[in-house]
Amino acid sequence: MPEQTENRQAIYDWIMTRTAARSRVLDVGCGDGELLSRLAEQREVEACGIEISQQCVIRAVQRGLTVHHGNAEEGLFNYPDGCFDLVILSLAMQELEHPRNVLRECFRVGRRVVVVFPAFGHWKARWQLALAGRAPVTGSFPHAWYESPNRHYLTVKDWESFCADEQWRFIDRGFLRQGATVRRLPNLRAEVALYLLESTVDIMD
């Protein structure tokens, strides 16, 4: 996961204020459970996480969380339909092999979904590619091409047109840059994009 040190608190706060008290929350790629344990403490949510790293799983269990150690690309298939009020996919989507499959699973098991991703349309990335002719290395994309965990690079525009295709409606969205909210020209200026979504189609076909 990109570190997002500057934006981390703002991301947590953004999600926190959009999480209903005492709801059931699944964090896909929960890391060491920092966000989930905060939600459990401050929102009294019933918190579950999926995490691929053994050390992170142990830390998350030590925080008193329910965790599944495994790959999100295969791990959502056993949660029943609609069993979570909120599913969080924070700074994980861009590392997945099949993000569309996992997202569809998120909408199957959750009534609402929060997606947070590093925005590739940021002007620094554009600048480095267009003018310097180099693969961008920025705050949100801190890794050189040969060691990046990221598999997918998307912009705010890419995401919104994809959501429209999938018939996912955003209830709310937010954009961050150096820990502060971005209001104007988000596709150009945001380092991180945050969306609270719900599906507009009945998935129980």
Partner: protein
């Protein structure tokens, strides 16, 4: 008692040990279930003994099963040979050991005996049932058999049902014993008994307890007390020496008939009742929290078996934490990988105890 098979058995003796103090509310009990060759002596040193109980690393003050907080009980299973009634016990109707006349018992029967023990001790419900391997099966069986009496279940390196491969290894072990003429149809008490057969059975067991990588690291192709091959059948390799030693030392401490009965109980174990219900149905209405721990190199009880249990619990909207620990120790890892397991088990129990206290308040 009436066994799952319908056969009546009794009276039944139960050997158990307990560590830590029982709260006045009797709400801090952890039931430890042992594996195939274990016994009630799970922790501490017996008088005159040099080796502590089989799970001493886990049980004690400040350890994962913290005896400063929890009352930990471990009893020897039905059919074993460490104090609880089994085939080597005296049949009250004949005054001689049961031998082959001992009825076949199941994991459900073991749990029934444990439940009666707890009832005798005045304990209505437990904070957790915990065990590895066969112990994990008992821990899971508790959740299905007495769902209201189990706050949580910790299953380690275990399964919801024995697979064909698991049955196969057990059958080879049983055949090794029964092929030994000294087994005498199971009526060998008072004689040496099937020492060779039991030793071979244990050697097979130990192969399945180690991983290929672990065996390679531990023994490789190293020779035992010789520089070159002996070109005979005495003893060449370290791994042969290890297996022979394990086999021989087991003969001195375990009853061959108990191994037959306990492996049979394992083979019969199937929470889906022969596929007549799904695993999900088996756990339906079970309010327990589950913790399942598997080990990457355990090929006897592969991690997907534990994972399937966690999935089944979740499909019931239940609470299941699953962790697969990287280890080269194979199935033995559940006894050896303390550093990785301890924080998970301790934190899980702490949470169960905390929720329990809140419910009380």
């Amino acid at each position: 008692m009436i066994l799952e098979s319908g056969v009546r058995l009794g009276p039944v003796d139960v050997a158990y040990e307990a560590y830590g103090t029982l709260t006045p509310e009797r709400d801090n009990v952890i039931l430890v279930c042992h594996a195939l060759s274990g016994g009630a002596h799970a922790a501490g040193l017996s008088p005159g003994a040099t080796k502590p109980g089989w799970w001493d690393v886990f049980i004690g003050p400040g350890k994962a099963l913290d005896t400063d907080r929890y009352h930990v009980i471990c009893s020897n299973v039905l059919g074993s040979c460490y104090g609880t009634t089994g085939p080597s016990s005296t049949d009250p109707t004949t005054g001689r050991p049961y031998g082959p006349r001992f009825p076949v018992v199941t994991v459900a029967d073991m749990v029934q005996v444990q439940a009666q023990l707890l009832q005798t001790l005045g304990i209505d419900s437990v904070l957790a049932t915990i065990g590895g391997s066969m112990g994990g099966m008992q821990a899971l069986q508790w959740a299905v058999q007495f769902p209201e009496r189990v706050r949580s279940v910790i299953g380690i390196a275990t399964t919801s049902h024995h697979s064909a491969q698991q049955i196969a290894f057990n059958e080879v072990a049983r055949q090794a014993i029964m092929a030994d003429p000294a087994w005498k149809g199971g009526d060998y008490y008072g004689t040496d008994g099937p020492r060779l057969g039991l030793a071979v059975a244990r050697m097979i067991g130990h192969i399945t307890y180690l991983s290929e990588v672990g065996m390679g690291q531990k023994f490789g192709r190293r020779l035992r007390n010789r520089e070159k091959f002996g070109y005979d059948f005495s003893l060449d390799f370290e791994v042969e020496s290890y297996l022979r030693h394990q086999g021989e030392s087991f003969v001195g401490r375990f009853d061959a008939n108990s191994l037959l009965y306990l492996t049979k109980a394992l083979d019969y174990f199937d929470l889906t009742n022969g596929g007549t219900r799904s695993l999900e149905e088996a756990f339906k209405g079970c309010p327990s929290r589950f913790l399942l721990i598997a080990f990457s190199s355990d090929w006897l009880y592969p991690s997907y078996q534990c994972k399937a249990i966690a999935h089944a619990v979740r499909r019931n909207h239940g609470d299941a934490t699953y962790c697969e620990i990287q280890s080269d120790y194979g199935h033995d890892a559940f006894l050896l990988e303390y550093e990785e397991q301890a924080p998970i088990v301790a934190s899980f129990l702490e949470r169960v105890a905390r929720v329990r206290r809140r419910a009380h308040a």
